[in-house]
Subunit: 243 residues, 2 copies
Amino acid sequence: MADELRRAIVDGTLGPGERLPSERELALRYGTARNTAREAVRILSEQGLVTSEHGRGSFVRRAGPLIRLGNDRYSPRHREAGVSPFLMECAQQGKEGRFEVLSVARMAPPADVAHRLQLPGSEPSVLSRENVFWADSDPVQRVTTWIPWSIAEGTALVDDEVGHPYGIHGVLEERGFVMARLSEEVGARMPTPEERGYLLLPPGVPVLDVLHTSLDREGAAYELTRFVMRADMTGLRYDAPIE
Amino acid sequence: MADELRRAIVDGTLGPGERLPSERELALRYGTARNTAREAVRILSEQGLVTSEHGRGSFVRRAGPLIRLGNDRYSPRHREAGVSPFLMECAQQGKEGRFEVLSVARMAPPADVAHRLQLPGSEPSVLSRENVFWADSDPVQRVTTWIPWSIAEGTALVDDEVGHPYGIHGVLEERGFVMARLSEEVGARMPTPEERGYLLLPPGVPVLDVLHTSLDREGAAYELTRFVMRADMTGLRYDAPIE
DNA sequence: GAGTGGTCTAGACCACCTA
DNA sequence: AGGTGGTCTAGACCACTCC
């Protein structure tokens, strides 16, 4: 039953956005109990093909165009444009991007962050900044940045509004930290319930989990950022020379 | 009920690999029907926290160490080692890597591949090679490579066994195609039923979908590869200069 | 054979949406 | 008000595993 529905969806018999037959209707049509029909719809929802909306029905999910985060987002070439690369990508997709500051606080870094910054994980040795990025009315990324307190102390980084035209990396450059290389570790997983809440994720949508490290000319890490991105609306692109 | 179990798992009360109470046991303990207890276990399984094994029980999933595919896997520096980078990564994790050739055939490329190679999608203009990569007894990646037929024709690339010490890129280099840059587009999604079959994926495990493009010194694309990787056992790492 | 998860039935009530 | 999905009950049989 799930297979037949799946075929109808990939064939295009059921186009994107179309409503599936109701659970009661499916049960009747196949001569099964409603629970069984419901299970079929659940399987499609787990595969990310279908979204159920309480009181309205179940719908074929529409494949929205991806917002792709490229590694060129840190390029000085894009500085001249004066727009944050996320907002630029959004504009290209005809969407309006914005972001929201969740918190700015001095704290002890998580173990993996502490290790990469070569800082103790037991002391409040970093400044942490949390943001949520939106495209139109959808939250699409949850972003956490960690900067050694010794670097952040006394700068605009500790303010809610950074207020620098080039964002946090503009402030960091003025303190002498210029990004020469990046290292990004990419994984994917199902969201935690907390992340499902922040990103309003329907079932069957995984997240991309990216841990970004900024390295200076000496190869020392001076800033880390974790991006948790909903994978149905965002992706990544890396363009790099072979070394 | 799912929340309580979840807490027990993240707290460590239920350690990795441990068996959950059976569905009938949970139902009894909470005074609910078995279906309700079952639903709680299903939710955890969807979150990737738990795997159910028919006839045995449900178990807390153990977080295996990741095999990370780095962009340095194409570096000429690694050529000297003489080992494929996937096998190297496996060895680092104490695993034995191997791969299996599923098919080698001349065919018409999918639309996105045709576009990037600037070839017509309606003719058999590419050689396609499909592999599955294994780490110990787990299939972890399904890999499809497309090479313009004009390049592949008459080379060892059309054979089941490539037989070149440096694999397909060794053959391509001898034909004058040296990788100068790469471009990789990364996404994540739930697997198709076909992929679940190839990769023996339990529920709640997404896949990373990577479309790799090899570019020569002139910036022209001459080879594409799509990696579909199970995200609970593999990840990616990109180290690149800021340009 | 006893215990497990996988599937299924035939109901029931609730919460939500649309008209 | 009527239809939708969300949750739940109290059973049943099957397929699998382990002893």
